[in-house]
Chain length 213, copies 2
């Protein structure tokens, strides 16, 4: 204890949280592709290599950003029917991630080994269990939900119907793909949140339909 103090000639001047906040500031200001060890160090007013006193590598820096964003994930247990609870849980993730859209790619690759996400997953599995899902059927139900969420997030980020790709598809001529063209046009009128809820409703209807009594 006294030894630990003795072995600290100069106290640390930065915390992981402060570093993550700086990285998030860079991302929110100039986009994910401007994130680099150099830009974050500059944001903190320190030399590039000084960052490595606090962070193993870029990988860990990204993890810190994801952790920070997911701090806003509401951990309270929702109530209502099991389907209502799954909906609430799903929308909480969407809300947390949606607050910083540019970090979606980081979220997708770093979401594992984040304790908030794990607690969230445990809550989802608990809800499914109470609904009567078990064993393989529960695994498939859970993983299907995750797949939908992951796909919905990346679609909102860089999908063909929202984001830069939308413009291309929404203006394509009726031939040779009339349904695709019409779909792209109609899709522009649907708010992302509504579409997300719609897909979730379909999925939950499917889960309910395949749920044994």
């Amino acid at each position: 204890m006294a030894y630990a103090v003795k072995a600290m000639p100069r106290p640390k001047s930065l915390t992981h949280e402060r570093i993550a906040a700086a990285a998030l500031a860079v991302i929110d200001r100039a986009g994910l592709d401007t994130l680099s060890m150099r830009t974050v160090a500059q944001e903190l007013g320190i030399g590039t290599m000084s960052l490595y006193r606090y962070v193993e590598d870029r990988e860990q820096l990204e993890q810190l950003v994801v952790d920070l964003v997911l701090n806003d994930l509401d951990p309270a247990r929702p109530d209502g029917s099991w389907t209502e609870r799954v909906i609430v849980l799903a929308e909480r993730v969407r809300d947390a991630v949606g607050a910083h859209p540019a970090v979606v790619p980081l979220f997708l690759s770093h979401r594992h080994r984040n304790r908030h996400v794990m607690a969230w997953g445990e809550a989802v599995l608990g809800t499914l269990t109470e609904a009567g899902f078990a064993d393989r059927r529960r695994v498939v139900a859970f993983r299907t939900l995750i797949s939908y969420l992951v796909g919905a997030f990346s679609a909102e980020q860089l999908g063909p119907l929202s984001g830069p790709g939308t413009i291309v598809l929404a203006e394509l001529p009726p031939t040779p793909f009339p349904l695709l063209a019409e779909t792209a046009r109609t899709a522009r009128e649907i708010p992302a949140a509504e579409e997300f809820r719609g897909g979730l409703a379909i999925l939950l209807a499917g889960l309910a339909a395949t749920n044994p009594p």
Copy 2:
């Protein structure tokens, strides 16, 4: 015509297809993160900058790879009930992409403006239309399917239950997340193809349940 020939002092020695094949060879041999203009040029036996005679930039090179992989997407119209047809169409994409798992990230970001994917989407939309889906409900149904597919592909690629992340999760202790631990263990026994079909079945059950008569 004669002018076009006149204006070609040296004939092109490479085709887009040959370039894409070289890039795919690099990816399949050493992984996606070894793909670079330099490695592809080396694979072709030409100088790095010579590649730019055939390709606008790295972006287009990646597009060519995706195009090549998706050439194996079966274009035939499937038959059976509408749910059976959607299943066949979904598994065709999975088969085409699954033949080169390392290109999944490229597929996710370059799938738009690929004509095979567009034709595939038109076929899916046609099937949904015949099943009675129209307007906004058809858009949501379509997009939900896409989201599930995209999510399933990336999950299979770098998900927590398959790939390197699996090991971490599958060996986590029962506390404090017992359901998560059990799910990870069970998930390892389920073949990816079976899980994919299971999720698809859930989704289609949901679509059928929400489909108006």
